[in-house]
Amino acid sequence: METDIIKSYIKELQKGSHKAFNVIYDMYADKLYGFLLAHTKSRQMSEDIVQDTFLKLWINRKTLSIDGSLQSFLYTISKHEMIDLFRSQINKVEFELYVEYIDEKNFDDNDIEKKLFYDDFLKALKLSKKLLSEKQLEIFELSKEKGKSIEEIATQLQISEQTVKNQLTTSLKKIRTQLSNMNILFLIIFEICFITQ
């Protein structure tokens, strides 16, 4: 599907043309960003990978084939990073809370909150974590943010594994309740982000 014009940009890019690079960036940056956003639901992560991908395009420009498709080349150079990110993203506990939140709220398609991003959700999550006791917060963060196992946390804090489990369950319950009551707060956060952008 790529026209001769694109081919000539590829040729120029291979020779090290910064201008051709910029044209290609303009052509594909938004598409790539939309694709990443659909997978990560995070603006920040998606932006980071857009940047990485185009950096790789520049670095690997000499291996680009003129007859190949630029679109598949972009995919090839960043697929490992995308797959890893996608895997790790969907396995984050905070991310599952996010999916759960979106699901429970049951937004209809036109609802603005439907567009709530993971980034904004994390901010709300941060607020709701204030409800946790110091100990609960410590355990929650070790588990969810530092990825430590229950066993590791028990050893580190010198408490029983059962206590760690109980504390985590209580914390999650508290956070869930708080989040489902935070509808309005979300809107505010969302709007702040939206307007200041």
């Binding site: 690079f21 520049w58 697929k79 895997r87």
Partner: protein
């Protein structure tokens, strides 16, 4: 990929997925291989266009960062040529310190390459005051990253004494493997053509990671990580750092290594070519230690101990075994 997974995946992409369906998808994806996942994603990438625009500000932000990199890169290509010619023919066994920024009058270079030829060694001081001892046949590329991260690429063997700066991680890349450190000393080895990448830690702590590895690995002092690029596995074991880093103090040391591997070490060490006509002893394990010895006396010592004889023709040495003679 089964149909129902594709369905769930699409629902997820358009944020129409229920919590239960999400868990089902998560489970299915955790049980799929990267190749299956790659096909799934690639199809979407080719077929669909998703809503979401970068926004003018972000788009220009990213462009500015890319521009910055590219301009630097283009300048660097010219400088690199000069440096490659200028840098380094260091006499055998004389380790000298290069203050590259002063010697080559390039102001605070962001990127440079040091290459050490066979039979030579070099001690390099990087702009951040980290020190790198480079073993023979090694190439080091230094790059000051965007957020002032310190990045080097290594092919060959080097010992790093990294200047402590906890705000700016120091990253050593060897092919697909990355070692991330804050301030510490360690040895790293990725010989050209070898499947194995090794690193052993003297002090501090380091982290190993690679897109090919499902987890990061952390090393403690006196541990050594061996990474096989073909099997994508990391093995961590206890090690003797005295032995690992002997080379930087001009000690040629080996302990229970295969005869043929030791011959390769000697080739690199003295910058010679060794032809081994001795298949029957190639796999024998041998040990030894030499400090500041010349090639002749090293070979003599091995000759007496392991019952070989050798002929030297300039830089080529032919070794034959006496094992089955008499």
């Amino acid at each position: 990929m089964e149909n129902f997974i594709t369905e769930l995946y699409k629902k997820f992409l358009y944020s129409n997925i229920s919590h239960d369906e999400f868990r089902e998808m998560q489970h299915a994806i955790n049980n799929s291989k990267d190749t299956e996942l790659s096909d799934l994603l690639e199809e979407e990438w080719t077929e669909s266009i998703f809503p979401g625009e970068l926004g003018k500000k972000s788009k220009e932000n990213i462009r500015a960062k890319l521009d910055f990199y590219i301009e630097n890169d283009k300048k660097w290509i010219d400088k690199k040529r000069i440096l490659q010619i200028a840098v380094v023919v260091i006499p055998l066994f004389i380790i000298s310190t290069l203050f590259i920024s002063k010697q080559y009058s390039i102001e605070e270079p962001n990127n440079f390459v040091v290459s050490v030829e066979r039979g030579n060694k070099a001690l390099v001081t990087l702009p951040d005051q980290s020190k790198v001892w480079m073993n023979s046949s090694s190439i080091l590329e230094y790059k000051r990253g965007e957020k002032n991260t310190r990045e080097v690429k290594l092919s060959g063997e080097a010992f790093f004494k990294v200047y402590k700066d906890k705000n700016h991680p120091f990253i050593v890349s060897m092919n697909n493997l990355q070692i991330e450190v804050l301030g510490t000393s360690f040895n790293a080895k990725a010989r050209i053509g070898s499947d194995i990448i090794e690193t052993s830690l003297v002090e501090g702590s380091i982290r190993l990671r690679s897109p090919d590895l499902s987890q990061d690995y952390y090393l403690k002092p006196n541990e050594k990580a061996i990474y096989s690029q073909s099997s994508k596995r990391v093995q961590i074991m206890h090690t003797d750092n005295e032995l690992e880093t002997a080379w930087k103090d001009n000690k040629l040391k080996f302990s229970s290594e295969r005869f043929i591997d030791v011959m390769h070490m000697i080739e690199d060490w003295y910058g010679v070519k060794i032809i081994c006509k001795c298949p029957e002893i190639e796999n024998d394990l041998i040990s030894g230690a030499f400090k500041d010895e010349n090639l002749e006396s090293t070979l003599e010592a091995i000759k007496i101990q392991y019952n070989i004889h050798y002929k030297r023709n300039r830089d080529t040495i032919t070794i034959e075994s006496n094992k089955y003679e008499n």
